[in-house]
Symmetry: C2
Subunit: 152 residues, 2 copies
Amino acid sequence: MLLNLTAVYGLRAMAVLAELEPGESINADQLSERTGVPRQYLSKVMRKLVVARLVRGQRGRGGGFALQRPRSKIRLADVLAALDLEMKAGCAFDFEACDVHNPCTLHPIWSRLQESLATWTTKTTMADLGAAPKRGAPAVASRRTGTRRRSD
Amino acid sequence: MLLNLTAVYGLRAMAVLAELEPGESINADQLSERTGVPRQYLSKVMRKLVVARLVRGQRGRGGGFALQRPRSKIRLADVLAALDLEMKAGCAFDFEACDVHNPCTLHPIWSRLQESLATWTTKTTMADLGAAPKRGAPAVASRRTGTRRRSD
DNA sequence: CTTTTTCTGGATCTACTTATCCAGTTATAA
DNA sequence: TTATAACTGGATAAGTAGATCCAGAAAAAG
């Protein structure tokens, strides 16, 4: 997987939030239901998005989560950054002092790759994602952790 | 980082091996020295490359590691696969049943991204890497435990 | 055959990610 | 003000990647 699970969870949640009507919100239980993300862990992920001011977390009756800004103002890069995903990354060999003037072997092609990635994530917004994937048809991947057993 | 540390270590090692004269080999101590990869962990990484038949691991006096095939016959994709890095990966939302006929929201752009990655890693061989980065000038990133940020 | 070199492989340790538990806080409605 | 809904946040557990330790096993040299 190109992204870690936390990032994937966050993306799923954001995709659902992006579908809500303006003013509408969704609580953690329903969000967990719709995204297939474990309820408690989802809360932790959502917190990151709230702290990053991408999402509003409203407590109390009728509360829940909603986007802070219009979809079109939330870039994929913002979301990934909020989820601690370094998209700028570094040298393919993880050499610190690697740069244009002192390039490692992979530097030219690697930096081009990363730039196109960076460009893409800053150009793409939540509005570009269209509808969030529905549960049911595209089933949530079962994340076999070793102890998981299919129930009979 | 786009790659995990094990993959980075493996790449560094392969880059060094690719520089050896035909018939020459290098032992784990020297390889650790040159790549900045912890000696013992390097052995584990090298084992994966040996098992994948990219590298020959010769025991006893004068033994060490060397490429099994000419550099030009070892693709980046082979190396990454040997190091358990899934380059094909899956859907951005980690939905299992996501495909062309039942695509998730990110599917079109995500799959294009992954394909260009896959194409690149199968077209690039160890011969294309040129010389391995030298230690000293492009210094090895110091791996102080607190400072580090992990992500793919 | 013994010694030395060097890779192999199991066991263990640590840090980080993912997951769960549960008590707290805030907001709404009656 | 009370009850209830719902997010917040600390503590903790489980799982995996990264790292280390150390006892083999194999190959070469003497």
